[in-house]
Symmetry: C2
Subunit: 216 residues, 2 copies
């Protein structure tokens, strides 16, 4: 599992959780805008470790990058995709559940979704690239599966259900975005996590509107 090029990648997995995820998050944030623009100096500074340690675990910057893609995909698979119940009658419930799962993952890995949707921008071919492609296909497949399984008779007859789903999808994304005021390393895990229930309540109100307006 994961990139085998550098043996010590394995050792990295056995680090204490807090430290491991601090490094992962720092790396993801730095790689957000492409492989070339990322600086390992910035990563170690943000992660609060020495440069030697980073290269002890990953050997090269390229290897770290590949490892990161695989690791991020694995997280999203096991902690997001696999947990989505695609067989729900009420599509609003399904989308709501997805938004919740996404928030849970983002709490621990604040930029993981942005990282994975933005990587392809530059950089060469690598085994991780193939995984990434499959992963992205899977992501769109889930959406269409949910749509296939849901009960379209619940919708008002004078509107196109597919378009409604788009609207709900975009709204949930916009809502989540508006709550992520600034993604600076400092603000992560403070405000949001504390007022978690408040945010859920607020979002429930939007869901109510969807039910009232788009269903019969």
């Amino acid at each position: 599992m994961y990139n085998e090029e550098h043996e010590d990648c394995q050792k990295f997995l056995h680090l204490e959780t807090e430290k491991r995820e601090r490094i992962l998050n720092a790396a993801m944030r730095e790689f957000l805008h492409g492989f070339k623009k990322a600086s390992t100096d910035n990563i170690v500074r943000e992660a609060g470790i020495s440069k030697g340690l980073l290269f002890h675990y990953f050997g090269t910057k390229e290897n770290l990058f590949d490892f990161l893609i695989d690791y991020a995909i694995d997280i999203i698979q096991t902690q997001y995709m696999d947990l989505i119940n695609v067989r729900q009658k009420d599509i609003f419930d399904a989308l709501w559940q997805m938004a919740l799962l996404k928030r849970d993952v983002s709490q621990r890995f604040p930029v993981i979704f942005e990282f994975l949707s933005g990587v392809y921008l530059d950089s060469k071919d690598c085994p991780a690239k193939q995984h990434l492609k499959k992963f992205k296909e899977l992501q769109t497949k889930i959406y269409s599966e949910i749509y296939e399984h849901c009960d379209k008779t619940l919708f008002r007859e004078d509107i196109d259900p597919q378009k409604v789903v788009d609207i709900v999808h975009w709204s949930l994304a916009g809502w989540a975005d508006s709550k992520t005021v600034s993604m600076t390393p400092e603000s992560v895990g403070t405000e949001m996590s504390e007022n978690y229930d408040l945010y859920l309540d607020e979002m429930k109100e939007y869901l109510d509107i969807f039910h009232k307006c788009f269903y019969k």
Copy 2:
């Protein structure tokens, strides 16, 4: 007008439009992810000009950056904000009009909105920073003005109009985003501009849904 630090900024304004905007767009795209990460070498390569010319016009990278902020603000002011009619009864029409204006501006300056909403991330204080702050305040003010002026009695009584406006706002943003498949320099100004009317029709359908579902 504009940054006066380097006299030849003025000369830049008298360049032929095509060349001027090619340079501006290249610079905006490169500055998208912060001042420090931007490379003047990349800018000149993407803009198709020599390095000497860029520094002839702007003197320093910092000066170019400041100039760019001011210039971008000016564009959005005169070609977007000033053209918005905040006194409309039907808020869907108002938001629709805003989306159209935004698309028009984005056609000529593909990353101008992202550039201006992302700049504050790093970098020092400068006169342009002050402008930017005022500009962002103005941007939120426009939204609340539109909301104040619109006819809230048109809405269904069992829902919160403010939340509906959020939903519409997020949906229009999501829709626009889904149409901007990839913002690579090459793809700009091809597909989108040709099928412009098709896109408008598609968006009209979403607006229809809003009318049907959120109004009485």
